[in-house]
Symmetry: C2
Subunit: 276 residues, 2 copies
């Protein structure tokens, strides 16, 4: 008798483009088609290289669904003028998301400009508040992504799911939610209660792994199964909170990027099946 194979249901699997960073949008779309991966998560810089309309056409004609666009945010800035520039850029990101056919824009909220964390948190709050009506008009939801506290000075003053929810809950659930990345939240002693609290607000789920030792907290993310995160348990908790959407595999790691793209996708599918 053969042992039962692990579930190979890939219907929720999404390739976050940065996992195959050397590929263009066209190459990533073609790679997903070859690998039967139904979703793709796109990045603005890659989309800009290919062109917005061309990128939208490529994914549409391939029959891929776009799980999210990364990234808006980066609200804190020293001057009001610069904060307005950032807000305008976020509005363009909203438009791009709509054009690409996704209703989720992930917000990486930005680091502080100086030692004053409360001021920075206020700028984030203010930025989201100003962006919401514009995003609503375009039918795009904003997914606040809490970042690992190790990345506080580089990426985000929003560092816990609780804090992200405190902000999201100031708005309607169909306008502002959270984007969960296991890498950023796995350490949190409040993780599971906060995932339950997030029911109805989870817009995106990213998976990868925390490697030991941790060489680089920005670019040292591992393939699922190579690290210590209880990925399946977190995914199941997110499911239990009612999220049934795509699951993006997002690996920021030069060692992964240096593999041939099709090998990366084969590994993604294998590890997704076993560990997610």
């Amino acid at each position: 008798m053969k042992a039962a194979a692990p579930s190979a249901d890939l219907s929720r699997l999404s390739l976050n483009h940065i996992t195959t960073r050397r590929w263009s949008v066209r190459e990533a779309v073609e790679g997903c088609l070859r690998a039967n991966i139904p979703w793709i998560g796109l990045w603005r810089d890659k989309v800009a290289e290919t062109g917005l309309k061309e990128s939208a056409r490529l994914v549409r004609e391939a029959g891929l669904e776009v799980s999210s666009l990364l990234r808006g945010g980066m609200f804190p800035a020293v001057t009001k003028a610069e904060r307005m520039v950032r807000l305008d850029d976020n509005k363009r990101a909203v438009d791009e998301a709509a054009t690409l056919g996704t209703d989720v824009l992930v917000l990486v909220c930005g680091p502080a400009t100086d030692r004053d964390l409360e001021a920075a948190r206020g700028m984030v709050e203010n930025g989201v508040e100003q962006l919401v009506p514009y995003a609503a008009g375009a039918g795009v939801k904003l997914g606040i992504e809490p970042f690992h506290p190790a990345l506080m000075t580089e990426r985000s003053v929003i560092v816990t799911l609780s804090q992200a929810l405190d902000l999201a809950e100031q708005f309607e659930p169909d306008r502002v939610g959270v984007a969960l990345d296991v890498y950023h939240v796995w350490w949190d002693p409040e993780l599971y209660p906060q995932i339950a609290r997030a029911a109805g607000r989870i817009l995106s789920l990213h998976v990868n792994d925390w490697l030991v030792p941790t060489a680089d907290s920005l670019l040292g993310r591992g393939m699922m199964g190579d690290g210590v995160i209880e990925i399946r348990r977190i995914r199941q908790a997110v499911d239990a909170a009612g999220y049934t959407g795509p699951i993006e595999v997002e690996i920021l790691n030069p060692e992964v990027w240096n593999l041939p793209g099709d090998e990366i996708l084969a590994l993604v599918k294998e590890r997704y099946t076993v560990h997610v």
Copy 2:
């Protein structure tokens, strides 16, 4: 008219020995005497090199006060036998603290042995529970130190002040408290409410700084003023919670260690005066 000089009250200043890691206990004690630093925080490995009784004699005869002993903890282990070995080692640490003349043993609670964080947290809780009666008998308090989440896999599954307090509050305030290090807690959106909650339980305060960029989260700690932490604000919040004890300068950084010891102490005093 001369501008008022910053306060040069060094009565709470403590040299955590690791800041002058190249020094022996004798050299650190003599350095503190030359620099008029009234307190010293000791490490078990350095004390062992010099000998426990000799270390105790050196600090006592120098008239220095010992602010704390580092470190107990490291409770999670795979087997019950190994956990008993760890507990015995913690009891020796309690005895050493008493011999050295300090009533504070700082607990670095230990990383998980595998992916199961809850099991590891349970082992920490169990370890502290078993250690408390022994420590009480020796008149030594246990200071649970929450560690930065970036160090979760290397040092501690206790990663927030809230979590440390949840554990400490299971015991009498004169038995178990918390050891606060600005490096480990500065990022926490709950920091100030949790410091207020910690009133009566703060046993130790460590200062240093978070450098940007962050090259190494274990050994990349900065001298106060070189990074982004609002050190004075945190110190004032700790004062407002009723803590009037020593403030240890604890810098884990090879670039600092490579300076001549007396230069390190001069810098410590200058930065303490301006930034703490």
